[in-house]
Amino acid sequence: MTGLPDAAIATQLAPPSAHRRRARGDNPFRWFVRVVVPPVALFIVLVLLVELVVVAAGIPPFVLASPSAIWAQLVQYAPQVLAATIATGLNALIGLVIGAVIGVLLAIVASLTRVIDGMLVPIVAAVAVVPIVALAPVLYTMFGSTSEVARIIIASIAAFVPVFLNTLRGFRQVRPVHRDLMRAYAATPRQQTWAVTVPSALPHFFTGLRIASSLAVISALVAEYFGGPRQGLGSAITTAAASSAYARAWAFVIGAILLGLVFFALTSLIERVSSRHR
């Protein structure tokens, strides 16, 4: 089945517990040195380089803020950055959950009924190419400028598309041999769903969720550029930039980067755990 006789023999000889560590490498310290240290070192070098260039060339802050100034602002405005990150993150999270739930429900419906599948997929494809944030000004007028609803809707639509498409694909991934097996066992449709269809689709759903998580954060943040309540990261960045506090604007951008990373890391982790044995 594997077509790899060497690997096959190796797995046959080694006790099962030995394989689990294979992926991680030999020991945590060497893994850390090999995988984590190089990008961190590169990042530090780049930051120092930017600092050097900005200071040496006397570049004005509205062109490029120096890393040290950004850091100082980040420390000084830490509570505000945190509050803004939470405000935007909450919109993104609620949007992600709503989009994912609707995406999964519609994928179930589409996978059960060919007709609905034929109607839905082109519409979703059309939605996918529209920059959803473009709707922000319209939605702010609809729901009022003090409401977060518009942003949540935008994040939901952005998150819905990849979740729907990937989950639907996942439902179609049941292998013919598994279908035969379930028929041979005279399994009921319900048993087939829980024993084969859902587990086959799950990793695809989580892949969709990972893509959706980044889109939800980006959409929730960019939507703030078009108005609405002023608590979030997007509003903070525009406010700081408008008042010529460029280093502070960058400090909020760092908050946005961290928010995106948290969403991405969490969903990647779930995806990886769910598709461990494929």
Partner: protein, 288 residues
């Protein structure tokens, strides 16, 4: 729901068929392709597999041997003719779980551990968890994978995966095993070991086996009877009794005995006709 339960099933007629695991009568299977093109995969198939008998179906690619097995398993339905499994219709036999089945691909569920894979049919059919655990332990022992109960399929070699699949097919102690080239994807050494193991398991369980293969030595080594098939349209051209001794007594030595070679020659001649023992005529048939 309205059909009255088991009494409605036709009583097994007390003829010779009653002792048969599988009876195939006049079966035909025609596949209808697009644009009205149709392919006759099987025609005029007559086959009886007796209780406890090991029958191999052999023939070149496209001779319909896998299709015939799928018909017996009720994974597909014949266009004409009748199939009985232990006196019941193929459909009823499938619903009653009268057979165990193994495919060329092991077909394990990758998200379930080895033990959970073997447990699957027992779980689907509502066996209690304590009973299930005991049965799984027995089966793991039977296929020599006790140490790997908690491993996942992707951590096993192809041969081990296939052993799990065989253990799963035996889970409910079927009196009929249907196997579709289960060792087809394995290397020669693993394959010979698995064949010997299959003979041992079969001797222990006493089940009838219908075994699809394209390897002549495999068919001769394992079978009581080899059914030779030919393509376009798929039909049975010959049946050869090989019966090289009781399953339990067959060992590796058998592969070097003259009776084994005689069997191989007989099957080869049935496949190609006696005059054409020259290589090259047997496309699709594995003569290893």
């Amino acid at each position: 729901m309205s059909t009255p339960a088991p009494t409605a099933a036709p009583e097994p007629t007390p003829t010779a068929d009653a002792a048969a695991a599988v009876v195939v009568r006049g079966v035909e299977r025609v596949f209808h392709g697009a644009k009205g093109a149709s392919v006759t995969a099987l025609t005029g198939i007559e086959l009886t597999v007796h209780d406890g008998e090991f029958v191999s179906l052999i023939g070149p690619s496209g001779c319909g041997k896998s299709t015939l097995l799928r018909l017996i398993a009720d994974l597909d339905e014949p266009s004409a003719g009748d199939i009985r499994v232990f006196g019941r219709t193929a459909r009823q036999a499938r619903i009653d779980q009268a057979y165990g089945i193994a495919f060329q691909q092991a077909g394990l569920l990758p998200w379930r551990s080895v033990a959970a894979n073997i447990e699957l049919p027992l779980q689907l059919h509502g066996m209690g968890s304590a009973e299930r655990r005991a049965r799984v332990a027995e089966l793991l022992d039977l296929v020599g994978l006790t140490d790997f109960a908690r491993s996942y399929p992707d951590q096993l070699s192809g041969g081990m995966q296939q052993r799990v699949a065989i253990a799963r097919s035996l889970a409910e102690q079927p009196r009929l095993l249907l196997m579709d080239e289960p060792f087809g994807a394995l290397d020669e050494m693993t394959r010979e070991r698995m064949q010997t193991e299959l003979l041992r398991i079969r001797a222990e369980t006493g089940a009838a086996v219908v075994f699809v293969t394209h390897s002549i030595p495999e068919a001769v080594y394992l079978s009581d009877r080899v059914v030779v098939m030919s393509p376009r349209p798929g039909r049975i051209t010959d049946e050869i009794d090989v019966r090289l001794g009781r399953a339990a007594e067959r060992g590796e030595d058998l592969r070097e005995e003259s009776a084994f070679f005689e069997g191989v020659t007989a099957v080869r001649e049935a496949l190609h006709g006696p005059q054409s023992s020259t290589p090259g005529t047997a496309r699709g048939v594995d003569v290893r």
